[in-house]
């Protein structure tokens, strides 16, 4: 699968989780230099606007701007509203999952996850 040219924004307030997700993405074929990161939604939104990305992989609970607020900001931006958004979070509450779905999330993974779960969701986002 040709993920080499896809640019991904990984958003998580945990630096270890950002590294774990980026390592998993590299194993799936994403290019190291195309993996950007941010520690909260606010920082991510700024970088997304500057760099232009093909996918956002975001945690939910973060300081300053949460993942759900980032998702809503992306969906309400005319230039970014179609940007694929994958939520990777410890929020297993059904109401939270429904809130994310209603806000327009493309895929949702409850932590802990493994590489094959991530691959499955990425394939759903980038079929073929």
């Amino acid at each position: 699968m040709g993920y080499e040219t896809k640019k991904v924004m990984v958003v998580d307030d945990s630096s270890v989780m950002r590294q774990i997700i980026k390592n998993n993405l590299k194993q799936l074929g994403f290019e190291h230099t195309n993996l950007l990161d941010a520690e909260d939604g606010e920082q991510a939104l700024k970088k997304i606007g500057e760099a232009g990305v093909d996918l956002v992989v975001s945690d939910w609970n973060m300081p300053k701007m949460t993942g759900i607020d980032l998702l809503k900001a992306v969906r309400s931006d005319g230039d970014l509203k179609e940007l694929p958004f994958l939520m990777v979070t410890s929020e297993a509450d059904r109401d939270k999952i429904m809130e994310a779905v209603q806000a327009g999330v493309n895929q949702y993974i409850v932590k802990p996850f493994n590489a094959s779960q991530l691959e499955e969701k990425i394939k759903e986002i980038f079929p073929g």
Partner: protein, 174 residues
């Protein structure tokens, strides 16, 4: 379902303890690629010693806290497995990953409780490093101490009940 009210001799609702155990098994298997075993609760003698602790509080149908304690050596080995790279015990990354693990376990417990008709919201994790760190819980609150054994060592998960509608800890000015 009916949520049991706490009395002076109260015990924690079995649904809560079941969900904690179920979630520990599921989360540890996925995170550390090994199945945990629970020691018999009446034969536990372990203390954490030098270690790191993640604490999450819950409010809702049941008010309670969960304390997840990792001895130093076990934390170093377990989280190397979780992250796929070594983490220095004294680095901020270790606090980061313990907080993440507490958060992941807490989120899974919320999902499990919800499936049983019990609604709870959870806090962000609080982290403490120290020697034999224990929570100061108000008298007469029920608690359970679960000692979880992994090939890398043991982890203690302590569950302490709270009175519905009352925050954990002392009321300011009391």
């Amino acid at each position: 379902m009916t949520i049991p009210k706490y009395s002076n001799k109260a015990v924690l609702p079995e649904e809560l303890v079941d969900c904690v155990k179920f979630s520990i098994t599921s989360v540890f298997q996925k995170s550390f690629q090994n199945s945990p075993t629970f020691q018999k609760e009446d034969t536990q003698t372990q203390e954490i010693g030098d270690g790191i602790v993640g604490i999450i509080s819950y409010t809702g149908d049941i008010t309670w806290i969960m304390m997840m304690s990792f001895p130093k050596d076990c934390a170093t080995r377990l989280f190397a497995r979780f992250a796929g790279f070594e983490l220095d015990y004294d680095s901020p990354d270790m606090g980061d990953v313990v907080g993440e693990m507490a958060n992941i376990l807490a989120g899974n417990i919320v999902g499990c409780l919800q499936e049983r008709g019990i609604k709870c919201a959870m806090s962000l994790p609080t982290l403490i490093r120290g020697f034999n760190v224990e929570p100061m819980s108000p008298r007469d609150l029920p608690s359970r101490k679960l000692v979880v054994t992994m090939p890398e060592g043991f982890v203690i998960v302590k569950v302490v009940g709270g009175k519905p509608g009352v925050s954990y800890g002392q009321v300011p000015g009391s």
